[in-house]
């Protein structure tokens, strides 16, 4: 959502008057627009005055229940995500990287779908075409991830790159399928590419090439043939890949099982 009129959504956003799709779309915009963020802060403070005007005397029973619950509730650590991540928070449990990634993928698909279906107002035919194309691409890219995530034995594992970045693998041995998503891996030198390997008893087996563009997240890599594999790794190889790894892995971790 990059049309100039997105800025006028500050009011609706501050009043929680956007539906879920638009809310997330706008939150993404907010991270890019400091002026909008400042205006939102002010308008929220204004909305808070409307709340204060509605203040009422809370019953003592509420105070007792709150304090009792507080006494047994652990506080979150200061680091980490901002406090307003409703969808993830609602999912409960640990916000692991892969859950985050899945949620982000789902959100992206939902937003694009909303635009296409006309839930979100689209100004021009061009915007609609763009959204349609984006949706098709996202669906194609994240379809395997979504399917795998639904498998009862799906397990996720994350490896950290020696020069930064993370690699997440979601695997189902029942389906004999896995999906790898890399984010923030350093861009390989010119003419080089990342190659993913399954490593078991014998020789490492190539499962595909990954081409992260800058800090962006590369499209997920889908592969099978998990039997016998214990670890998964990424090496930097000449463009086109190598039959066997020629460099030390930049990421190496246990295949989730």
């Amino acid at each position: 959502m990059s049309s100039p009129d997105v800025h006028t959504l500050t009011g609706a956003y501050a009043l929680d008057a956007l539906d879920e799709f638009e809310r997330r779309q706008f939150e993404a915009h907010l991270t890019q627009c400091p002026d909008c963020a400042r205006e939102v802060d002010e308008l929220r403070a204004t909305a808070a005055r409307l709340a204060v005007a509605a203040a009422e005397q809370p019953p003592d029973s509420l105070r007792r229940r709150v304090l009792a619950q507080v006494a047994t509730t652990r506080q979150e650590s200061p680091a980490g995500k901002p406090v307003t991540t409703p969808i993830l928070a609602r999912a409960g449990g640990r916000r692991s990287d892969w859950a985050l990634r899945l949620a982000a993928a789902a959100a992206a698909i939902a937003v694009a779908a909303a635009v296409v279906l006309g839930v979100v107002t689209v100004r021009t035919a061009a915007q609609r075409d763009f959204a349609q194309a984006e949706l098709a691409q996202l669906r194609a890219e994240y379809q395997p991830l979504a399917q795998l995530a639904a498998a009862p034995d799906a397990r996720g594992g994350t490896g950290t790159g020696v020069r930064g970045g993370t690699v997440f693998v979601l695997a189902s041995h029942e389906l004999n399928k896995a999906v790898m998503v890399a984010s923030d891996l350093p861009t390989p030198p010119d003419g080089r590419i990342y190659q993913a390997w399954l490593i078991g008893q014998g020789q490492p087996r190539s499962v595909g090439l990954m081409q992260p563009g800058g800090s962006a997240t590369a499209p997920p890599l889908e592969f099978g043939g998990l039997a016998g594999a214990a670890k998964i790794g990424l090496t930097v190889e000449p463009a086109g890949g190598s039959p066997q790894p020629t460099t030390t892995p930049v990421v190496l971790f246990d295949l989730p099982s």
Partner: protein, 209 residues
């Protein structure tokens, strides 16, 4: 950015209740929500008990406006207040006052509750007819309670009708702007704009900086 509504309770009342802080010379002064929050963020339950009366009334009030059902409202208010405790270490003073933060959480949660709990259609039918006049009347009725209400009422009165109705339906009614547009039979774009310029006018009138 500080709310000029702060403190909700008059300072001398706070003092009597023992809600006070020592300044650097060891003299007693009332603790602000922001000062208390620093202690709450370190896990200080006593500080939370002192923070509670400063925010609970407004939290319950706004949830009640949106959710309506008293039992459910208390439930949501409880969730919000506990969430405030839980996430206190992540409170960022640069983004606004503690009160604003608490009320932002409260409104968001109240809205989530009604939007998920009730089928939109069912709600619209029931709420459409009654909302606007009643919401505004309720604000108007409540004025006598304190200066804050008086000021908010006066400033709401300074908006155009469409601005006021849009803001009130969205905030107190918990409606999305497309629902508001439908309720007011106005174009989407117009309502979107009215929400923003209405809030801006309200901000200026209330002196929110």
């Amino acid at each position: 950015m500080r709310d000029s509504v702060w403190p909700l309770r008059r300072r001398d009342e706070q003092g009597e209740r023992g809600d006070e802080h020592r300044d650097e010379r060891g003299e007693a002064c009332p603790a602000t929500a922001e000062q208390l929050m620093l202690e709450v963020a370190k896990g200080d339950q006593t500080a939370f008990e002192r923070l509670y009366p400063l925010i609970a009334g407004a939290v319950l009030g706004v949830v009640r406006r949106v959710v309506r059902d008293p039992a459910q409202s208390e439930e949501v208010a409880q969730e919000v207040l506990v969430q405030l405790w839980r996430t206190a270490p992540r409170y960022d003073p640069a983004r606004g006052s503690v009160l604003t933060w608490a009320l932002t959480l409260a409104h968001r949660r109240a809205v989530d509750r009604v939007r998920h709990a009730q089928a939109a259609a069912e709600r619209e039918d029931r709420v459409a007819a009654e909302s606007i006049d009643r919401d505004y009347d309720e604000v108007a009725e409540a004025v006598t309670a304190n200066l804050e209400r008086e000021q908010v009422r006066r400033c709401l009165g300074s908006l155009t009708t469409l601005q006021r109705e849009s803001v009130v339906l969205a905030y107190y009614g918990g409606h999305t702007y497309s629902e508001v547009a439908e309720l007011l039979s106005s174009p989407l774009g117009t309502v979107k704009t009215r929400l923003r310029d209405g809030l801006i006018r309200l901000r200026d009138c209330l002196g929110v900086a």
